[in-house]
């Protein structure tokens, strides 16, 4: 991904109606857009915003689970969790690279995360007080992420689509290890079973919020769909996730914390699906705006990591410069 060449470059495109129509024709023909291709400024900005948020989510997403690595109850669970958290770090890096091809620097993105200007998925602002939370995150949070990411493999922007293909290959184990963990808790004693149910109760609604605001008031959706950045709307993906996940809960004897949840034959064009209760969008916006339980902790942890690593970055750059000078 040839990003360095673009940083600071003039990315303005003169967007005549003719230019926009030509661009839309390429999109409609399912042509991929590559880094140095002409593209509308708004297409570029949307992708920078979206891929940047996605990258930050992967990185911040390492924190709630990383919290449990030292306390995993067996070696089997510990290696799985270590591998998963390491994967999430990798996902963040693939995505930052993809965003950089659009002319934004890694340093700028990091700065925007630390200053609170850039957002990340609100789900990671919830705490992980019990071991069952690790199961619930893998099963539900990674499950919802997969639902979102699979269609992104066909995104019109080449570097994002390629990063997503890689990510999706790696995600499947994340969800399976979480579900297996939940299943083994439900097969344990009463306390363990209750712990699993409690985690589901706390994570179910925030997982549904991961798909973003309802289509009726989602500002960016329409244009993103037209440009084939997104292939499905927030509500469509949310419905798919509910339909896929409810039977998985039943299979291991857990109950969704939603009294309004019921099968409806007429959903999904007659194929059937689940009606579900009202999502608390006030809670969603509260968390997005920084008032979730863990927002401050998460940013504090990222700031500390960035600041504690500063001397390493500086020393390695100084060493590289010295080596270069010695060789000259």
């Amino acid at each position: 991904m040839y990003s360095q060449g673009l940083i600071g470059a003039d990315t303005a495109t003169k967007e005549t109606a003719e230019f926009l129509a030509e661009f839309q024709a390429r999109i409609d023909a399912e042509e991929k857009i590559e880094p140095n291709d002409p593209m509308p400024q708004a297409y570029r900005n949307t992708l920078i915003r979206m891929i940047g948020q996605h990258a930050h989510s992967e990185i911040v997403g390492m924190l709630p689970e990383g919290n449990w690595i030292t306390r995993a109850p067996s070696l089997r669970r510990k290696v799985a969790l270590l591998a998963k958290v390491q994967d999430e770090g990798g996902h963040g890096l693939y995505l930052y690279s993809a965003a950089e091809t659009l002319g934004v620097s890694r340093e700028q993105m990091t700065e925007e995360l630390l200053s609170g200007k850039a957002k990340y998925s609100s789900i990671f602002n919830y705490p992980t007080p019990t071991w069952a939370d690790i199961g619930a995150i893998g099963w539900l949070v990674d499950g919802a992420a997969i639902m979102n990411q699979v269609p992104l493999c066909r995104c019109s922007y080449g570097p994002y689509a390629r990063a997503m293909i890689r990510v999706c290959k790696e995600e499947s184990f994340h969800q399976r290890q979480g579900y297996e963990l939940m299943k083994s808790l439900t097969e344990g004693n009463e306390d363990q079973k209750a712990m699993a149910q409690d985690a589901l109760n706390r994570w179910w609604w925030p997982s549904l919020m991961m798909f973003g605001p309802p289509d009726s008031d989602s500002q960016h959706s329409d244009q993103s769909m037209k440009w084939k950045i997104k292939r499905f709307s927030n509500d469509e993906l949310r419905q798919k996730f509910v339909d896929a996940t409810v039977p998985q809960a039943e299979l291991i004897g857990l109950t969704m914390p939603d009294p309004d949840l019921k099968w409806n034959n007429s959903l999904n064009n007659g194929a059937g699906g689940y009606d579900f209760g009202e999502i608390d969008w006030d809670e969603f916006w509260r968390v997005v705006k920084g008032h979730g339980m863990m927002n401050k902790d998460r940013i504090r942890a990222r700031k500390k990591a960035w600041e504690d690593g500063a001397w390493v970055r500086e020393a390695s750059l100084a060493y590289a410069a010295k080596q270069k000078a010695n060789a000259a």
Binding site: Q4, P38, L93, E100, S105, R106, E107, Y319
Partner: protein, 95 residues
């Protein structure tokens, strides 16, 4: 914030002997040794390859997409460069 931007390196991986190295992505690192280490950690966690090339991104010379037409379109009407352009009797068999 660190003053200097951390250099960017493009990463190429050969999945196994007999195949080409293929571009897989990029990493930031101060020097080649650290870039190699990062590339190994980021891009080969699941036996994706047995050999890595890293190249400073700034050293890559890319063709300009604005010239794509004049560079690549002339080949599309030279069908005589393909075997199917030539008529030979079916009886000849495979040639």
């Amino acid at each position: 914030m660190t003053e200097n931007l951390m250099p960017l390196w493009e990463v190429f991986i050969r999945p196994r002997n007999g195949l080409n190295h293929k571009h897989v992505g990029s990493v930031h690192a101060a020097d080649a040794a650290m870039a190699m280490q990062a590339a190994r950690d980021v891009y080969t966690r699941r036996e994706e390859g047995n050999s890595i090339w890293i190249i400073p991104a700034a050293s890559i010379v890319a063709s300009d997409p604005a010239n794509a037409e004049e560079n690549f379109d002339p080949a599309s009407d030279k069908i005589y460069r393909h075997p199917s352009f030539y008529d030979i009797p079916d009886d000849v068999g495979h040639m």
